[in-house]
């Protein structure tokens, strides 16, 4: 039984109003937030500023019928990779890694089929690291009900920091 339930745990946390008193700073927009490790040992560092310059894409996700829908805003992963001309070295897998060193493997078909986004805003607001920010790997769960299994829940990584192309 998988113990990796980042996504749902994160949802629960984010909604706790008690956390409003937290005094931690927001993640600096000019500090590298995401590192892409290309297959030829090249890396591409992206700040929140860099990502904000790219075309935006939003997804609405409702965790359960009882909860309020959440709007995630970010960049389309596939579009991001394309804009960096990363298509030439064909990759089969992505290894997504978080600030807490959680990692997960994502097949290329996920990107092509479901078009997940790298979100930097939740309901229009950036999310600090102590609240599981600043970046989230989000699938369009509402558009594809078949994604609502532990496989894709565990692939929805928060505190996303590194993407390895393998």
């Amino acid at each position: 039984m998988s113990l990796q339930r980042h996504f749902w745990a994160m949802m629960a946390i984010v909604m706790l109003p008690a956390l409003a008193l937290a005094g931690g700073d927001a993640y600096p927009v000019d500090r590298p937030a995401l590192v892409l490790h290309l297959s030829d040992n090249q890396t591409v560092q992206l700040t929140l500023q860099d990502l904000a310059k790219l075309p935006k894409r939003s997804l609405t996700v409702q965790d359960s019928p009882a909860s309020a829908p959440v709007e995630w805003t970010g960049v389309d992963a596939d579009a991001l990779f394309n804009s960096l001309n990363l298509q030439s070295p064909p990759y089969k897998l992505l290894r997504l890694q978080a600030l807490n060193f959680y990692s997960v493997l994502v097949p290329r078909s996920d990107i092509e089929q479901f078009h997940p986004i790298i979100a930097y805003a939740r309901n229009g607001q950036p999310v600090p690291a102590h609240k599981s920010g600043p970046l989230f790997w989000i699938y369009p769960f509402d558009d594809y009900p078949e994604l609502r299994t532990q496989i894709h829940f565990s692939r929805a990584v928060w505190q996303l920091s590194d993407i390895y192309f393998e």
Binding site: Q4, R5, W8, I13, L16, L19, N100, H130, F153
Partner: protein, 533 residues
């Protein structure tokens, strides 16, 4: 099979049991559905049993943060890097905050609680002090972390153990719940299976019973038809036997509607004589005398029955006497008359011959004294009423005793017969002739005077004189007759009249026989002079 037939109360009981089964099944089904729905709802969302993982991650993050603090103090990483680690640690402890990580522990573990509370509070405080691009704050943080974090690493092992036990218990609790649910649903399904089996059995039973019933019904139908046919045959046979009996009966029977428009039965004897071709019955045709017909019909209507009425019926050829009885019955829903009659014409004949025998002199065939007297009285009565004349002749065979003595009684009888037949031939049709003694005869001549009677008397006398009595041996014996004549007087009785004729007869005898003597007026009138003829 009657054994299969259930009584009413048994049927009611069976029905109640079935209804109970159905209701129970519905209840079971509803409960099972609710339970299944509940479980499905729970299973629709992924399980949130991430306590152990969160405990591990926090422990790991504590180690990383401690390492980052030391690296910062040695100048290996920037202050911002340390801030990121502190924030990440805080994000990790947030998930332990308010989470019931040890909720399923059978016994509380205070050391674990204590360690958890301590790291939550520390990380929260550090997070508040951590600021990007603030080297002073980073230095203070690094010192604090170095000081406070190291002693917490070891107690976190206790947190891991506790959360593991708690999680294991929680999972087992879930397992037990699931197990119970499935067991319950399983029992419900077994209940449904049993109930359905009972219902199906009941349906099969009902179907078979209905089929048996229909078979029995059709069988019954056949039997009924057979019985009706047999009964019809029996009835027609009974009818035939009855007809035979009635036909064989000495009585003639007729059975017909009261109106006579429909004849149900009629004996052959009556059939030929009575029935018109239209097959109706009419009393007027049945009785010879319409008065009898009316009387019989009236009595039958009044009393509903008539017994032994004697009447003359129209026979096939000639009327005959019969005793007729009748009853009013009901047939085919309407009143009907049953009459039966018995031919008594033979009895009537015998009666008549007996009567004749009683009034007739056996030897001569003439009226005897009694009969003559009755007829004579009637004649005299009639003559008196019509004020007409009447003459009596008293006749006696002369010397009859000698014939008897000389030739025997047979000759005497023969003589009497001969004389009688001669006298019969000699008198008129309306005259009354009788033999009133041994050789004595008498004649009453109505509507006639003495003068008119005389030639008749003379004819009788001469006829006898001319008569020769054969004696059987070729010889004949002659006979003579003495006659006394008396004419009826007003108010004279037959006795008196014959007395006077008798007197005249004695006169004739005394005067020498074979002659006629006339009795004069009665003795009390003899004093008056006789009218001279």
């Amino acid at each position: 099979m009657p054994a299969l037939m259930l009584s009413r109360s048994q049927k009611n009981l069976a029905l109640s049991v079935l209804v109970l089964i159905v209701v129970t099944m519905l209840g079971l089904l509803t409960a099972a559905l609710l339970l299944a729905g509940q479980q499905a709802n729970q299973l629709a969302a992924p399980n949130l049993h991430g306590e152990l993982w969160r405990a591990y991650q926090t422990t790991r993050e504590m180690e990383l943060t401690l390492k980052a603090a030391r690296q910062y103090q040695q100048g290996e990483i920037s202050g911002d890097d340390l801030v990121v680690r502190v924030q990440v640690l805080r994000s990790s402890t947030r998930r332990l905050q308010n989470s019931k990580i040890f909720s399923a522990l059978p016994l509380p573990r205070p050391r674990a609680d204590e360690a958890l509370a301590r790291i939550i509070s520390l990380s929260s405080a550090w997070n508040k002090q951590a600021h990007f691009a603030d080297e002073q704050a980073a230095k203070r943080l690094a010192i604090q972390i170095n000081r406070d974090m190291a002693p917490l690493i070891e107690p976190m092992h206790e947190v891991m153990i506790a959360s593991n036990i708690s999680l294991a218990n929680k999972l087992d609790h879930d397992r037990q719940l699931l197990y119970k649910s499935f067991r319950y649903i399983g029992w419900a399904l077994i209940g449904l299976l049993i109930g359905s089996t009972l219902l199906v059995a009941r349906l099969i039973y009902n179907y078979r019973q209905a089929r048996q019933l229909s078979n029995r019904l059709s069988e019954l139908n056949h039997t009924l038809e057979d019985r009706v046919a047999m009964r019809t045959l029996e009835l027609s046979e009974e009818q035939r036997v009855l007809n035979q009996i009635l036909q064989a009966s000495p009585s003639d029977v007729a059975f017909f509607s009261a109106d006579g428009d429909e004849v149900y039965f009629i004996s052959e004897g009556l059939q030929s004589s009575l029935l018109s071709p239209s097959s109706t019955f009419e009393y007027a045709q049945f009785f010879a005398d319409p008065a009898d017909a009316e009387r019989f019909h009236a009595n039958l209507i009044n009393d509903n029955q008539v017994d032994d009425l004697e009447a003359l019926l129209r026979g096939p050829s000639a009327p005959y006497y019969a005793v007729i009885s009748g009853r009013v019955l009901e047939h085919k829903g309407r009143p009907a008359h049953l009459i039966w009659c018995y031919d008594i014409s033979m009895r009537k004949q015998m009666e008549e011959s007996l009567l004749a025998l009683a009034n007739t002199d056996a030897l001569t065939g003439l009226d005897n004294r009694h009969s003559f007297w009755r007829k004579g009285e009637a004649l005299l009565h009639y003559t008196r009423r019509t004020e007409q004349h009447c003459v009596a002749l008293m006749l006696d065979i002369d010397h009859f005793k000698q014939i008897n003595d000389k030739y025997g009684h047979q000759a005497g009888d023969l003589a009497l017969q001969k004389v009688a037949s001669e006298l019969q031939l000699g008198v008129r049709e309306n005259d009354i002739l009788g033999r009133i003694g041994g050789e004595e005869f008498v004649v009453l001549l109505p509507h006639i005077s003495t003068e008119q009677a005389m030639p008749i008397a003379e004819r009788l006398r001469s006829n006898i004189e001319a008569l020769h009595l054969p004696l059987g041996n070729g010889q004949y014996h002659s006979l003579t007759l003495s006659i006394g004549l008396a004419s009826m007087l007003t108010h004279e009785s037959l006795d008196q009249l014959l007395n006077r004729a008798d007197i005249a007869l004695y006169e004739a005898k005394a005067a020498g026989r074979n002659r006629i003597s006339i009795c004069p007026a009665p003795a009390l009138k003899q004093t008056q002079p006789l009218p001279v003829d």
